[in-house]
């Protein structure tokens, strides 16, 4: 074997060191001694958890879980795995207590109760906020890291995994490379956990997505993806980032068209106006722009002075942002800003059972790499779900690994996979940034990702197929940094094809998915998932119906019905 290849061996390999990966590692150690986390970002950076505010969805004592589930079924327009969601809510209480036991501070009201923030105009769902403001995610990262160090969990940064290796049907490890040296790496493992996030399109709101996720890893290993037609679409000032719109809107902020009209309240959303998921606001932004009433601006003039005073950033990156914008002559609270939609992350994910197991023996997925969301979001759910799924998947993957001998490992195949990938190094060709933009141009067309239609999706499918066949093979990586970026770009193109194919397969509108050619729910069938897998090297989709008979709530009311898109 090539002497340059570093060969490691572990019981449980976890790909991704965000909060889901850290929870998985913590619990896997109950069953096995040797757990290894690798992350393509810097060592211990903590993934998107470290950039979050640390808000956490948890029903406290006295809250009725069924009320919360009812909110979610309503918000998701019936497209909710009710068993799984109910279990998540119940376990959220345990994980919340775990965080407190690790020393985490959640915010309290003057009367001692937990401080919570209502979400998306829903009656029951509330996120419990962390204290101090702006530090919650960093604190969670530190607390989890302390726990992992005490358990001697092995951790490595700047390692990119490029391919999962199998022994027969079961996973036996992975190959990858160090992103700053290009040194190849083989990791043998009894179980492998995808804790990568599912990825997205590398646009940035206030948080980074370094991720291209695990779409290629999962598909090449034979796992299935679910709900890939759903994406998180945010809106943002055109030139800079600003966080906190969900707080500013209730204080009196509004989206206005070029005629100065509050188009959400006046027309599209007469009940809750723009106090909803960004996805519904951006739908209206597109319709207004198409009708010649763009650009869309964010109006803060009705926020009272005490409201502005409470929201003027006082710390962290937002303080820097505010100060620097003012130096450029931009005051967020006195000027009117043009806002635009921005697609961020895929919300589909790897199909798993309730313990994170995929259809590939020994391969697990956790956190946002799992499929849970349907295009609409409430704050704090990803951190909650990372903790609950990380906890249970860690136990399951650890138990699986402890019951197995180390699988045989096909070094020849692994080496060939590495050779193929490292062959990009030092080559001349198309650079990753150009490819990112090219792929983004496909998916940011408003009729591909916001008001979808068969015609636009078909054209986009042709384009992404062309990109994958005729541009991707000519990509290059002058050094190993760019090799990492190349693989992310390629993953983004693969993710985009999965997004478009799944969008074509859902011939109705529901939750975060809107089809102009099918603007209503398909009431002729039970709700279904769109599941995507690789067959003979091609992506195929099929429907899997939700077992509504087994669910406690039979949906009769739907969040989408309060909007008017005609």
């Amino acid at each position: 074997m090539n002497a340059n290849i570093t060969v490691l061996s572990t019981d449980v390999l976890i790909i991704g060191g965000g909060s889901a990966g850290m929870w998985t590692a913590k619990m896997a150690r109950r069953h096995v001694d040797d757990v290894l986390i690798v992350d393509k970002g810097p060592l211990d950076w903590g993934g998107l958890c470290s950039m979050s505010d640390g808000n956490f969805i948890v029903p406290h004592e006295g809250e009725n879980l069924m009320d919360w589930l009812d909110d979610i079924v309503y918000y998701y327009d019936g497209l909710c795995d009710q068993k799984e969601t109910l279990a998540t809510l119940a376990k959220a209480r345990e994980r919340f207590r775990d965080y407190e036991a690790m020393g985490h501070t959640f915010a309290r009201n003057p009367d001692g109760s937990y401080h919570t923030a209502p979400q998306r105009g829903l009656p029951h769902i509330k996120a419990t906020t962390s204290a101090p403001l702006g530090k919650g995610g960093q604190n969670m990262r530190r607390e989890l890291l302390t726990a992992l160090k005490a358990l001697n969990v092995r951790r490595m940064g700047n390692v990119m995994i490029t391919r999962l290796i199998k022994d027969g049907d079961a996973v036996s490890g992975a190959v990858g490379f160090f992103t700053r040296s290009g040194l190849p790496l083989i990791i043998r493992a009894r179980a492998v956990v995808l804790a990568t996030g599912i990825g997205g399109w590398k646009t940035s709101y206030h948080q980074n997505s370094i991720s291209s996720g695990c779409v290629e890893l999962a598909l090449t290993a034979g796992a299935k993806l679910r709900s890939m037609e759903f994406a998180g679409i945010w809106n943002t000032p055109e030139r800079f980032a600003w966080t906190g719109q969900s707080v500013l809107l209730p204080l009196g902020a509004r989206f206005l068209n070029s005629r100065g009209e509050d188009f959400m309240l006046n027309h599209y959303s007469p009940i809750i106006g723009s106090k909803t998921d960004t996805l519904y606001n951006v739908r209206a932004m597109v319709l207004e722009t198409r009708a010649g009433r763009g650009p869309i601006t964010f109006d803060v003039s009705r926020i009272p002075p005490e409201g502005i005073a409470s929201r003027r950033p006082e710390a962290g990156w937002m303080k820097l942002n505010d100060t620097k914008l003012k130096a450029k002559g931009i005051d967020f609270f006195t000027d009117t800003q043009v806002w635009v939609p921005q697609i961020q992350t895929s919300q589909g994910g790897v199909q798993t059972d309730s313990e994170g197991a995929t259809c590939v023996p020994g391969l697990y997925a956790v956190g946002t790499a799992q499929s849970h969301l349907v295009g609409v979001y409430f704050g704090g759910f990803s951190l909650c779900q990372a903790a609950t799924s990380g906890h249970d998947t860690g136990l399951a993957a650890g138990a699986y690994a402890s019951s197995k001998e180390m699988p045989a490992f096909d070094f020849g195949f692994a080496e060939k996979c590495l050779d193929d990938e490292l062959a990009h190094l030092g080559r001349q060709g198309i650079m990753p940034k150009d490819m990112d933009v090219t792929v983004l141009e496909v998916v940011t067309a408003s009729d591909v990702s916001i008001l979808k239609s068969a015609g636009a999706l078909s054209r986009a499918l042709d384009r992404i197929t062309e990109i994958r066949a005729e541009l991707i093979p000519y990509m290059a990586a002058p050094d190993s940094h760019y090799l990492g970026k190349l693989i992310e770009s390629r993953g983004m193109a693969t993710l985009t094809e999965a997004y478009i194919r799944s969008s074509l397969a859902r011939t109705e509108s529901r939750a975060g998915h809107f089809r102009e050619d099918f603007p209503l729910r398909d009431e002729s069938t039970p709700p279904y998932w769109v599941v995507l897998s690789m067959e003979d090297g091609k992506m195929k989709t099929h429907r899997e119906y939700l077992p509504m008979d087994e669910y406690p709530i039979k949906p009769t009311r739907f969040y989408m019905d309060q909007f008017n898109w005609s």
Binding site: V159, R180, A241, L320
Partner: protein
């Protein structure tokens, strides 16, 4: 997007390199001012560069860099009393970097390397008398430079006094084998009669044009014929070149030094090898060998984040991931950060909020990405 780094303010601690999730930054470690650890290192290992290479997982390059000044890191990591760790800037912050543990890890990687013969670049041969670590060090650097070298060792095996330690003995055996694989000749159980009247002539008859005496303390008081002695009865040498009173004869290790540490013995071998190379090419022994005066980079650690040491094994050893983590604790004192991959910045401000020196400026305007509403594309608007 990332705008600039103020070179005057940047201390090179690498906070940006260690925290940027998009991998935008790199360090320039070249600086006239050396790091405090390097100033304390008897071998003057380029620890700043070695640690920075490890921070990038460039394992073999880090080892190659260490080998420029330290021939046998697997021994040095275990034997050195680590004066480098005392002035480590991190000491003021939490705990010094485990520099010795890192060196031992690299040393063990060194032992596992398969070495191929070094192409012969020179015609004139050198003899090394004594295969303790001083002699082996001289032989290693001479061989590496392409000189034909023969080592004469009276004992059954190489290693000198270190053979009394079983771990060191087994390491020496590997290094001796590597030296032979590189092309050096090792003649064991071959006592060279240094005290005889005509030892130099005998060596010259064998076509050796330079001689490095590394025969240890046993020569003390027994003058090899024709060489001047120091006050303490050892062979008198120039402190920089280890050249004796005879131009072609050098002495290293305990043969020349009082109370030489193992590390200093290796250093003397390295320096003598360089001087031998000089004279074998007709130059003065000290060509290019004067120790440059140096200044030491600042040890200011205000505002820097704590990072606890990676726990070492019971024998002080570090694993691969432990070594990589420990290297990230190094503040690479005296380096300068630069923006290596500006197009990958996503304007998260993490570098600027983490920079303890306040040297980084991020522009709040973000990159032009294609946006929805079909109106905002790259280059679409100033």
């Amino acid at each position: 997007m990332i705008s600039s780094i103020d070179e005057e303010k940047c201390t090179g601690c690498g906070s940006c390199v260690k925290t940027c999730a998009l991998d935008v930054f790199r360090l320039d470690t070249r600086n006239e001012k050396i790091a405090p650890c390097m100033a304390a290192c008897p071998a003057r290992n380029d620890l700043r560069e070695i640690h920075y290479l490890l921070q990038q997982s460039r394992l073999d390059e880090a080892l190659d860099c260490l080998k420029l000044t330290m021939p046998f890191p697997a021994l040095a990591g275990r034997l050195c009393r680590r004066p480098c760790e005392r002035p480590c800037s991190r000491h003021a912050l939490d705990e010094s970097v485990n520099i010795g543990g890192i060196e031992t890890f690299l040393g063990d990687r060194d032992l596992a390397r398969a070495l191929s013969p070094v192409p012969r670049r020179h015609i004139f041969k050198a003899a090394v008398i004594g295969a303790g670590i001083a002699g082996l060090s001289a032989a290693w650097y001479l061989t590496k430079s392409g000189f034909p070298v023969t080592v004469f060792e009276a004992g059954e095996k190489a290693g000198g006094h270190l053979r009394s330690d079983s771990v060191c003995a087994s390491i020496i055996d590997i290094y001796a084998a590597q030296l032979q694989a590189m092309g050096a000749e090792l003649r064991l159980e071959c006592r060279f009669p240094l005290t005889g009247p005509s030892w130099r002539e005998e060596l010259e008859d064998l076509d050796f044009r330079a001689i490095v005496i590394a025969a240890g303390s046993e020569l003390k008081g027994k003058t090899p014929c024709g060489l001047e002695l120091s006050d303490s009865g050892r062979i008198k040498v120039d402190p920089h070149t280890f050249q004796s009173s005879v131009r072609t004869v050098f002495a290293v290790g305990d043969a020349a030094l009082d109370n030489a540490s193992d590390v200093l013995s290796m250093v003397s071998g390295r320096r003598a090898a360089q001087a031998v190379g000089n004279i074998l090419q007709g130059a003065n022994a000290d060509m290019g060998m004067h120790v440059r005066l140096h200044t030491v980079a600042s040890r200011d650690v205000s505002g820097m984040e704590q990072r606890s040491p990676h726990p070492a094994g019971s024998d002080g050893s570090l694993t691969l991931e432990g070594t990589l983590e420990e290297s990230l604790r190094c503040l690479t004192c005296g380096s300068r950060a630069y923006i290596a991959y500006p197009e990958d910045c996503m304007t998260c401000f993490a570098c600027e909020t983490h920079c303890p020196a306040g040297a980084i400026d991020v522009d709040p305007f973000k990159e032009f990405h294609p946006r929805h509403l079909d109106r905002r594309f790259i280059g679409g608007r100033k």
